[in-house]
Point group: C2
Chain length 241, copies 2
Amino acid sequence: MLKCMECGDESCLKKVPLFSSLGDDELEKLAHRMTFKNYDKGQDILSQGKAPGGITIICRGRAKAYRLTANGTEKILYIFARHDYIGEQYLFVNKAAAYTVTALQNVSAAFFSTKQFREILNLYPAISLRLIEELGRRTISLENILQTGGMRKTEARIAAMLSDFVRKYGVFGKDGIEISLPLSREGMANYLGMARETLSRKLSAFEKEGVIRSLSNKKIVILRPDILRKSAEDETDAYSR
Amino acid sequence: MLKCMECGDESCLKKVPLFSSLGDDELEKLAHRMTFKNYDKGQDILSQGKAPGGITIICRGRAKAYRLTANGTEKILYIFARHDYIGEQYLFVNKAAAYTVTALQNVSAAFFSTKQFREILNLYPAISLRLIEELGRRTISLENILQTGGMRKTEARIAAMLSDFVRKYGVFGKDGIEISLPLSREGMANYLGMARETLSRKLSAFEKEGVIRSLSNKKIVILRPDILRKSAEDETDAYSR
DNA sequence: CGGACCATTGATAATTGTCAAAATTCGTGG
DNA sequence: CCACGAATTTTGACAATTATCAATGGTCCG
């Protein structure tokens, strides 16, 4: 039986979209061509300036991808979570990674070297098509982020991020949807490209309006996801005055 | 001999990265599985909300990709030029296009339906790998745009856009690099996510500093590409005061 | 040459960033 | 479990930047 010793999850690879079309025996073969890696909180999974050398798939934990700007602050590009790919865009593009990926928690991950992965593509051509599909999705998702990032109203950007968090990390609680935030306020502000203080003020405003409730620095409850979604869609934010 | 009747260019498909590895006879076969399409200036190549239905490769002309926001303004995502792909991310993702692509000039293009293109992938598996590579490049390029878009200083974003234009459309002239701009000031402002007037003022400032010279509404000369590149790299823009 | 469209400039209002201080939260050790 | 110090966050006041509105000046094309 295929069991992931690292993350404790039965057939954890099967849940990765890229491999979902494979049978159990094929997954078994896959398992021979990869290595499990563990990263402590704060450790780098990928380093800006170094070639990724392969694909990493997260089994457990979260990580942030960021670039260092000239003035020393970091601009966060992605938050990676379980079943996300890291470095897949460099599989056939021999370039240095443009960002660093650092574990936000302890992370376990499956790693395929470029060589191993190309072998797998030869073995199972169906995975090529699947990879094309996944890269297409990634592109589409980036295009979405690009647009929300281009929105002028800061409230709209914040609302878009929170709505995204609801989708990815939301858990139903008794008062609303609980989110265990992957980033600190400072991290979220960097992700959104605004000052920490601005984010703070806007979140306080959302709280006064009854849209969210802050439980702690790392946990908030979304009381009115509908209002959030609405102000994320709308450039002309109806809920700020 | 393989000759593109539409754009007048000999072996124009050969210059498309996706097909660069193919021989002349293979290109010949390819030509049987596609249609040439012509679009007048202002015509839509792709429509927001409709499935792309295939891949379009531009042979001649430029086009803009944009989304309509709730308040009616358009947010421009891409400028497509010769040899760029349109809709390749939807090849295996059956979704409606998230943006409209409109011809900025008269455009001629090669079109492969999804069905045709999948046949081609079956026929030439090497193209799959090439497509993975191209999608990877697109992802990397989007990640770059995402970062420059996240830069707080407007001067830096403008400088990044102009540097990009230098790479794509720049022609050496006697005083510097001449650029025939693909967009109006309003278009560029939408692309950069700022007000038309702000862009105007910053461009005037660049002109006063001797970095650029405006020849007409659609043509500028870059006198100091080095300064431009520097202020695009730097969050802490050294050339504004 | 004229008219429509586009771009620039000026003045002002709104928004956001910055700096400093106060308040809260977090983790650790008692 | 509580207390304490460190780190993080929130808030306030002010400065800087950008958006908006309005008027002027240019450019393009018949």
